[in-house]
């Protein structure tokens, strides 16, 4: 048998054997955890506006984001966020706390290789693509605005 044919058959066979993730429980867990993070964010925003009524809404949003990023980073540092992630999957990856986790976790891991070449270099090893694509997308949108 030609090896390509063999490999194809083997891959087909293996794919048939792979246990499937139970989709509905995973979706449900990521939905409610993700939603809860958003509710917490909204709560923080409301409290800020309550405490500082003169604040512009945009500034209050920025404060909220900073607080959420801190919480995500802090929970990563004390080893809690990976457990939330294991349970909730996308629900805790998509909100900004997940972005914070993806920067803090390699920073923690590669601290042992030094501050500059370890921590600073590796810090964006997970989040890097998100930042790059964000820059590219915003540039494209900016150009579009310039034209129309």
């Amino acid at each position: 048998m030609h090896y390509r044919k063999r490999n194809e058959m083997y891959n087909q066979y293996v794919n048939g054997k792979i246990p499937k993730t139970s989709e509905w429980p995973s979706l449900f867990n990521s939905f409610w955890v993700g939603g809860l993070i958003c509710i917490i964010g909204q709560g923080i925003n409301d409290i800020i506006l309550e405490l500082m009524p003169t604040l512009a809404e945009q500034t209050a949003w920025a404060y909220t984001l900073i607080i959420l990023i801190f919480i995500g980073s802090f929970l990563t540092g004390i080893g809690v966020y990976d457990r939330i992630g294991k349970f909730a999957g996308g629900g805790s990856i998509v909100p900004i706390t997940g972005f914070s986790n993806s920067i803090t976790s390699p920073a923690l891991d590669f601290r042992s290789e030094g501050i500059v070449f370890g921590m600073c270099v590796k810090m964006f090893s997970i989040a890097g693509p998100v930042i790059v694509i964000g820059f590219v997308a915003s540039t494209l949108v900016g150009l579009l605005y310039l034209i129309i």
Partner: protein, 334 residues
């Protein structure tokens, strides 16, 4: 010419014996199915060191010293230290070796390293070149995860086919005299690639290579599965060993109840390690604790030990290469 290489197998005439065996594991492995059999369990993954890499190095050092002590030998009796691990440039083994005044050969066979080093050690001893050879390997969950996958604290979900790298180390002293199970033959495996690209499905990567080696063992030694008290594969995990059973059946060999897999047995189901354990320390620690101890008690008389490895490189797999696997086998008898 009895010890002529027939096909892939070398036969040993002078019965190289495993006279010392030592195993050391992390806390999670201690809680697993074999917890009570290991010689030593660490209280935490750091093992008193500031980095996980240093902890891994300390584990293999301790395993080597422990095995020498259990063999009633002294450090200067060891003629050769054969060791390997999973890290780039096998630093755990090589850096550990600089603390010892003994010749060192680094071997790399991914998770198949224990069988590879045992087989090579037996060749040296059987040939009369060395009296005592120490064969060891180590793996550490945290260092492997950092090198091959994601940061430890990243909140991601593991795919259902993934395996858990065991934090474990094992060392055997192969000697030309003394008491203990002897190695009657060793079968060197061929690198086998069936076109799997999923780095999270190591079982499927290693199963074809394991099948090749296992068929070679049965063919070369003129034995069949029922001739062994135990046929144990390294760390195919649950999925991988199911695939192996199917593949072997496809080739007309039926694996019975005497077949098991170290990766599948290492942890308890409630420890949530999905397909089971992996890493070269997984099979090394079980071989050097439960299996050899049971052989010494003569509860197991003939064991086929096949350590299986996925020769994975993050660079090659990111460049779209398929993943090759390998397996080496040794037959242990008492």
């Amino acid at each position: 010419m009895d010890n002529l290489l027939y096909n892939q197998t070398v036969f040993f005439k002078n019965k190289p014996r495993i006279v010392g065996n030592y195993s050391i594991v992390g806390p999670k492995e201690k809680e697993g199915n074999f917890g009570k059999y290991f010689d030593f369990a660490m209280e935490d993954d750091h093992f008193g060191e500031d980095t996980f890499e240093k902890a891994e190095r300390k584990m293999i050092e301790k395993a080597l010293l422990g095995a020498i002590k259990k063999a009633n030998l002294k450090k200067h009796d060891i003629d050769l230290f054969l060791a390997g691990d999973l890290l780039n440039q096998i630093i755990s083994s090589s850096y550990a070796a600089r603390a010892f005044d003994m010749p060192y050969l680094g071997v790399f066979g991914a998770c198949s390293t224990m069988a590879e080093s045992l087989a090579l050690g037996s060749v040296f001893v059987d040939g009369g070149y060395f009296r005592n050879v120490a064969c060891a390997t180590v793996s550490h969950f945290s260092t492997a995860e950092r090198q091959f996958r994601f940061p430890l604290e990243l909140g991601n979900q593991r795919p259902p086919t993934s395996q858990w790298t065991a934090t474990a180390s094992g060392c055997s002293i192969v000697s030309n005299k003394g008491e203990g199970p002897f190695i009657s033959s060793a079968t060197f495996g061929k690198v086998t690639d069936y076109g799997i690209t999923d780095v999270n499905n190591m079982g499927a990567v290693m199963a074809p290579g394991t099948m090749n080696t296992m068929l070679a063992v049965f063919y070369d030694t003129k034995t069949e599965p029922s001739d062994y008290d135990l046929i144990v594969t390294g760390d195919l995990g649950k999925l991988g060993s199911e695939i192996l059973i199917d593949l072997m059946e496809h080739h007309g060999v039926k694996l019975g109840k005497n077949y098991c897999d170290c990766g599948q047995m290492m942890y308890k189901i409630e420890q949530q390690v999905l397909m089971g354990g992996s890493g070269c320390g997984c099979s090394a620690s079980i071989l050097n604790s439960y299996i050899i101890n049971e052989m010494k008690k003569e509860k197991l008389k003939k064991v086929l030990f096949i350590a299986t490895g996925a020769l994975l490189s993050t660079t090659a797999s990111q460049q779209g290469e398929t993943l090759p696997g390998i397996a080496h086998a040794v037959v242990l008898e008492i």
